[in-house]
Symmetry: C2
DNA sequence: CGATCAATATGTCGGACCGATATATGGAAC
DNA sequence: GTTCCATATATCGGTCCGACATATTGATCG
């Protein structure tokens, strides 16, 4: 999904500024399965406005730059609808941590231990975050619960696996290090 | 992790051509947590050769272009080691399918059903694939089992969740569609 | 038996995107 | 009182993907 379509999708739920759109990808409901940076969002919104997919309303602010509030037009809604007809690509999982663990011979076991512990904490925080959101806003739009639940299940599985196999991994790394030292 | 570092890492395990490196990211042991395209790998290898991080050996072939076999130099090994000292970034999960489900009001429930079924099959195939590899090549290098196991756990959790919540999601979508039709 | 397709193997190129940076200010923290 | 964070816009260098170009062999298929 390109950033322009992502922006149209966010605007289909409510009007927003570029800054607010980015926040929805950084912390909001999309954070767990899509991302977009400001450096991509602002040009995408400008282009979408040129194409008549969105309208802009400038709101004066003292000191700060004007707030530009974007709204979806009927043309924009149609473009979003069209983009959603294409077949979705594969899900992508990327992890620099797993890369480091794969090449853990190049690391000190203590560093790996710290990194794994930190990642477990991160994943468990994400689970807690999603669960709290599930309580406050369950059942509004169809699909939202499913999406949130899947994120939760994946994070929980990752945290559980790391917790259960942490000791084994470290034991292997330390015995390998002893082996190399001899 | 940039593509140059990724290439050095692959070459630290064994000599390879650019084409073979890509295959390791498409099907090989790295496929589940890192990717790199040919359009990035070839320039990265050329640049790495210029910097003395790898050496090239051209092997003549009839008809086809020469096979260029790359090998890691001591300088390249040092560069890889240095790159591995940086703190890893967050794990990234991206899913166009979840995006479509989030905006499933724009879709026919039947299409969502098909897409979910296909994705379950894909995840279960990945689990089977990883499990078969775990049997044939377990315990060679420390960390490899851990990485494979985590991939397996995540894919299994995603497949299980989708299987268990598929009916609920579809029920919600169909009742919403009926509601809109009235 | 020709046709089309996948795999092998290199490489270029346009366009998309990220991350850093610039600019400007109010409020909170310490 | 200074440092840091949040708000809010925008640009830009560099990186990377996906598509294309090129060339050949072997397989599948009607």
């Amino acid at each position: 999904m390109d950033v322009k379509t992502l922006c149209l999708a966010v605007l289909s739920r409510r009007d927003a500024t570029g800054y607010e759109i980015r926040k929805q990808f950084a912390e909001g409901p999309f954070a767990h399965f899509q991302k977009a940076s400001l450096g991509a969002i602002y040009p995408a919104l400008t282009k979408a406005a040129e194409e008549g997919l969105v309208t802009v309303t400038a709101e004066a602010q003292d000191g700060r730059p004007d707030k530009k509030i974007y709204s979806l037009t009927p043309d924009g809604a149609a473009a979003l609808h069209r983009a959603c007809q294409t077949e979705p690509g594969d899900d992508q999982f990327r992890s620099d941590l797993l890369f480091l663990i794969f090449f853990s011979a190049l690391q000190s076991p203590d560093k790996i231990a710290r990194l794994v512990d930190e990642r477990i904490a991160q994943y468990e925080a994400s689970v807690a975050n999603l669960k709290s959101k599930a309580e406050t806003c369950s059942g509004e739009e169809p699909g939202r619960d499913f999406v949130r639940g899947l994120g939760c299940a994946i994070y929980q599985a990752a945290a559980d696996y790391m917790r259960q196999n942490r000791a084994d991994l470290l034991e292997q790394l330390r015995s390998e290090a002893r082996h190399a030292a001899e």
